[in-house]
């Protein structure tokens, strides 16, 4: 099957149409509902606690480069920075990518300016550590220990270094909140962090905080798509089961499975 079959085209078409419907509805001004996530309250609590203790906050945007997950992590970082900037608390953002370094520096500067304290912004709080996964992890745990951070935020794409970061933060007594779409790292964050935003909630959280209509519409459109896919799966399951009894359904089954 070097090229798609008709059924693949139909499924992709329906799923894409639902996603685009969500986005276009949102752009036209339709109010889309996303429930308030408990993780957002935890973010505010963590920033508050760090401010009370007079110690800085660390926000890691993960291993990603110029990709959507990293940008959505930066949107949450901006929110955290605006909260922290109100009380002139520091937010340290270590990054692994040089392009993200530039964008993170700009985002942090804007957050302090919006909060009315541009003078509190320190360019050296955005640090490019390394392009390598474990060198980055070593650098971050060094920052945690030297700066004695009170709150850690881990948002974005993570890999094996997730537990190294989270466990080190645990050992220094920092309150930790993680959010990642990297499902395989979620168990490690759950074990070591105080609050974890899991998978899809990460996209929903960044859409909720940024109130960007495109992100909001995309999240809602994806929900519609998943319902459609579940319905399609159920239909296929029913046809496959009935086809064992009625051979006439084999043609339909072959169509649904793309001829395989």
């Amino acid at each position: 099957m070097e090229h798609a079959q008709l059924i693949h085209l139909l499924v992709i078409g329906v799923v894409s149409a639902l996603i685009l419907y969500g986005i276009l509805s949102s752009l036209r001004g339709k109010e889309l509902f996303i429930r308030r996530l408990a993780g957002i309250d935890a973010i505010e609590e963590a920033v508050g606690r760090a401010t009370e203790m007079g110690r800085p906050i660390l926000f890691s945007v993960g291993l990603g480069g110029v990709e959507i997950e990293t940008f959505q992590a930066l949107a949450i970082a901006s929110y955290v920075a605006r909260l922290a900037a109100r009380y002139r608390n520091r937010v340290i953002i270590p990054v692994i990518d040089t392009v993200i370094y530039t964008i993170a520096e700009e985002a942090l500067r804007e957050a302090y300016a919006e909060a009315g304290h541009p003078e509190a912004f320190r360019p050296e709080d955005v640090r490019f550590l390394s392009g390598s996964q474990f060198a980055y992890a070593s650098g971050v745990i060094g920052i945690m220990n030297r700066e004695r951070v009170a709150a850690n935020f881990f948002f974005g794409p993570f890999a094996a270094e997730s537990l190294i970061l989270a466990e080190t933060g645990q050992s220094i007594g920092a309150i930790q909140i993680a959010g990642t779409a990297s499902i395989l790292q979620v168990p490690f964050f759950i074990a070591a962090c105080d609050y974890t935003i899991i998978g899809e909630e990460f996209y929903a959280a960044s859409a909720y905080l940024s109130r960007d209509p495109i992100h909001l519409g995309s999240v809602v459109g994806q929900d519609y798509s998943k319902i459609a896919l579940a319905a399609f799966t159920l239909a296929g399951m029913i046809v496959a089961t009935l086809a064992t009894r009625w051979a006439e359904l084999n043609g339909l089954l072959k169509f649904l499975t793309g001829g395989q």
């Binding site: 090229h3 799923v15 959507i68 940008f71 930066l74 700009e106 270094e161 537990l163 998978g199 579940a230």
Partner: protein, 278 residues
């Protein structure tokens, strides 16, 4: 489809022409209003992103199939080569950015500037030794006996196997310590769900190691109680409890990836950092 031309002068002329066209194009883009620039980017992104979906999604046996076979499929290799060349340039961009950031650290004597000096020394050393190992392994002397390394090969082996590989593996191995301490601290049975989780974890952990298998090896392989052997029970948990959950998660992941691809292709990310002028 496109065959390489064996002519140095023509190749140099073509490269110079490409550089000239790129400079002119970038110059024009730089000077036009931002709205127009954005529209050009949107159109180019849309057209570039249209090729692969069209080539793959036009099914066999339709009126469009001959057009696909004639005008789309033959371009797979040249376009793939072009993408590979662009990807190769991003490696260069990455290295350039790294050098700029570290050079700034050194020139401004920022905190930790000594590490940036170490970066430059390490990068240059690794670069030189790797090139020498690839192109001139016998630079100083030939290998004297079978299995003996030349000084260049030894230097590469020390830096790659002895330093880079060992450091990478060492930091990764920290996970063994952290997993143990995290598991000890986090796995406390306070609810019924936690007890269920603990039982499942215990079975899977013991099913992964020979000691666990040995604990239940006395259950005969042919008996109906074979199910209770740790490795069988562990496999059942992974294949029947874990697998449907993973499949559900996969649905969400790939729908999310499709949504992301659609937003980039249709340039719908203009609200975020993509649309900003830096």
């Amino acid at each position: 489809m496109f065959q390489p031309v064996e002519s140095t002068i023509l190749n140099i002329a073509l490269m110079a022409l490409c550089v000239l066209v790129s400079v002119i194009f970038l110059g024009i883009l730089h000077n036009v209003p931002p709205n127009l620039r954005m529209r050009v980017i949107m159109v180019v992104t849309f057209i570039a992103g249209l090729y692969y979906p069209l080539e793959f999604f036009i099914p066999d046996g339709t009126v469009l199939t001959p057009l696909r076979n004639r005008y789309l499929t033959p371009f797979l290799n040249p376009i793939g080569d072009a993408v590979a060349v662009m990807a190769a340039f991003t490696v260069g961009i990455g290295i350039t950015n790294l050098c700029i950031v570290h050079a700034r650290n050194i020139s401004q004597r920022r905190e930790g500037w000594g590490n940036s000096v170490v970066f430059f020394i390490s990068m240059i050393l690794m670069f030189v030794v790797t090139l020498a190992n690839h192109y001139a392994p016998n630079l100083f002397c030939k290998a004297t006996a079978d299995g003996m390394m030349t000084p260049v090969q030894a230097a590469f082996s020390i830096m790659f196997d002895g330093v880079y590989t060992a450091l990478n593996a060492t930091v990764f191995s920290l996970l063994a310590f952290f997993i143990t301490s995290a598991a000890y601290r986090a796995f406390r049975i306070r609810t019924a769900e936690a007890a269920l989780l603990m039982a499942g974890a215990l079975i899977v952990m013991l099913g992964q190691v020979p000691v666990g298998m040995w604990l239940t090896h006395w259950i005969p392989d042919e008996s109906i109680f074979r199910f209770f052997r740790f490795e069988v029970l562990s496999e059942w948990l992974l294949a029947n409890i874990n697998m449907p959950a993973q499949r559900g998660i996969l649905f969400g992941v790939w729908v999310g990836a499709l949504a992301m691809a659609l937003r980039i292709w249709l340039s719908l990310e203009r609200g975020g950092y993509f649309g900003r002028q830096f």
